[in-house]
């Protein structure tokens, strides 16, 4: 017994030295050994998007582009276009024209690099029976599949992110991984999202979607023109949502769903520009917003161009 304590004194190992040594050893084991590890640590210590300066953002972009190139074996550009001053995006959807063909739904998937299997769609087209209680969402049908649309007794209402001015999802996020940009687009930083899905519970429109598995998409299907806050390839375990095609609209183009609609039911523009199409719709047509009573103040306007 005495001998043992004596030996212990000889190697002079007390609790403090042991812990210091263990910490040093662990840190040594985790030191970056090659480039991939360096990229891991850079990602680990990446700052919040809104706290980074331009140089830091550029570095992140370079790292991401390299990662994506390794993963998908093709060049993918990650954009950082800033919001345009004096622009607040608004969306209009003409319910008197929509025929429920789901062209928008699939154009969105092609543009925004969603996972194909498991399937993620940012747009949901709901079918309602005509003449029933007005917009009873419980009675709506999401999986309708007739041979031809429109069907005589039904009307259709596509639902996607309503880009609320008062977004409940943003308030529910514990890590501030989602926020509203100055041009009104609610965005997610996929590198900051921890996947708790509180925002999905908070969203009254079912507009947020979770990557339950590694997003599955063929490299040749990937749209290589992306934005950091938009359609860049996502990770397993993060939430994603419609961004009004931020990579297109911040460059002045229409969102993909607007250009895909065969009947021209989808309208897009600047709410602050009195001559824009969306303002013309709001000023001249019968307009409503979905679940207006929740005080979310959506910037997605459903309207009826005829049949008043």
């Amino acid at each position: 017994m005495k001998k043992i304590t004596g030996e212990k004194r000889e190697i002079n190992m007390n609790r403090r030295t042991f812990l210091t040594g263990a910490a040093a050893g662990l840190a040594g084991a985790m030191l970056p050994l090659n480039k991939a590890d360096a990229s891991f640590w850079e990602a680990f210590f990446q700052k919040h998007f809104l706290e980074m300066n331009d140089a830091e953002k550029k570095k992140v972009i370079e790292r991401l582009e390299k990662e994506y190139e390794q993963k998908y074996k093709k060049e993918i550009t990650v954009g950082l276009e800033n919001p345009m001053p004096g622009v607040l995006f608004g969306y209009g959807l003409d319910l008197s024209r929509c025929i429920g063909c789901r062209r928008c739904e699939y154009a969105c998937v092609d543009e925004n690099n969603q996972s194909k299997d498991p399937q993620i769609h940012w747009i949901t087209v709901l079918r309602f029976k005509k003449g029933e209680k007005w917009i009873d969402l419980e009675e709506s049908e999401k999986y309708y599949n007739p041979p031809l649309v429109p069907e005589p007794d039904y009307f259709y209402m596509p639902v996607q992110c309503q880009q609320c001015e008062n977004p409940p999802c943003v308030r529910s996020c514990p890590t501030q991984a989602t926020w509203k940009e100055p041009d009104g687009i609610v965005v997610v930083d996929y590198n900051w999202c921890i996947g708790c899905r509180y925002c999905m519970a908070a969203c009254p429109y079912g507009a947020r979607h979770f990557n339950w598995a590694e997003p599955n998409r063929k490299p040749e299907d990937i749209n290589p023109k992306t934005h950091y806050l938009g359609n860049r390839p996502r990770y397993k375990g993060v939430v994603e949502k419609c961004t009004f095609c931020i990579q297109r609209t911040r460059n002045g183009r229409y969102p993909a769903c607007v250009e895909a609609c065969p009947v021209g039911a989808r309208k897009f523009g600047n709410l602050l520009d009195p001559d824009s199409e969306i303002r013309y719709a709001i000023d001249h047509k019968r307009v409503f917003r979905l679940k207006e009573d929740l005080n979310t103040n959506p910037k997605f306007y459903y309207f009826f161009a005829y049949g008043v």
């Binding site: 025929i99 063909c101 399937q119 041979p147 031809l148 183009r253 229409y254 021209g264 600047n270």
Partner: protein
């Protein structure tokens, strides 16, 4: 002094009248199409235009009747109407408005707008019909006839794309 004022007034009034009744002003009011406005050429069946390649050798028969040519066209638009309500018997390569004015096929929206005035108004404002291009700049409009076959303008039903996967089908 008074005389001078009068003269100025008269010449001003004359100038205003001249501007208002000048043919180019009337025309521009009729065509007040938006800025950044592009329209692709009308969707003719191949080889059919110019119409004069056949019609210039035929005398125009202006009595409404069943045609021997153009059998594929069944007019399901405007009951009681017939060809020369819109087409022009004397110069087949132009369309004719109700006021007798001739317009080219590229401006056929003026013809449609004679009856569908509110739709034409919405179309000019960018609301009716599909737009592609830039929301803040140059955008591509389409003529009415790009989506609506003028002889039977109602949309044909189309096949919807497949419904989303049900949660119960996810393995």
């Amino acid at each position: 002094m008074e005389k001078c004022n009068k003269r100025v007034f008269i010449s001003l009034a004359g100038l205003l009248l001249l501007i208002f009744f000048h043919p180019s002003f009337v025309e521009s009011a009729e065509r007040d199409i938006p800025k950044h406005f592009l329209v692709p050429p009308p969707p003719f069946s191949p080889g059919i235009f110019p119409c004069s390649q056949c019609h210039m050798y035929m005398p125009a028969n202006k009595t409404p009747r069943k045609l021997e040519m153009h059998q594929e066209i069944v007019l399901k638009h405007m009951p009681g109407g017939w060809c020369f309500d819109c087409h022009n018997p004397d110069n087949r390569d132009r369309l004719r408005l109700a006021n007798g004015k001739l317009i080219s096929f590229d401006e056929s929206y003026l013809l449609c707008g004679q009856c569908h005035g509110t739709i034409l108004r919405d179309w000019k404002a960018g609301l009716h019909g599909k737009r592609t291009g830039m929301w803040n700049g140059e955008k591509l409009y389409r003529l009415c006839v790009h989506c609506h076959w003028p002889h039977e303008p109602r949309f044909k039903p189309i096949k919807p794309l497949p419904p989303p996967v049900r949660p119960s089908e996810i393995k």
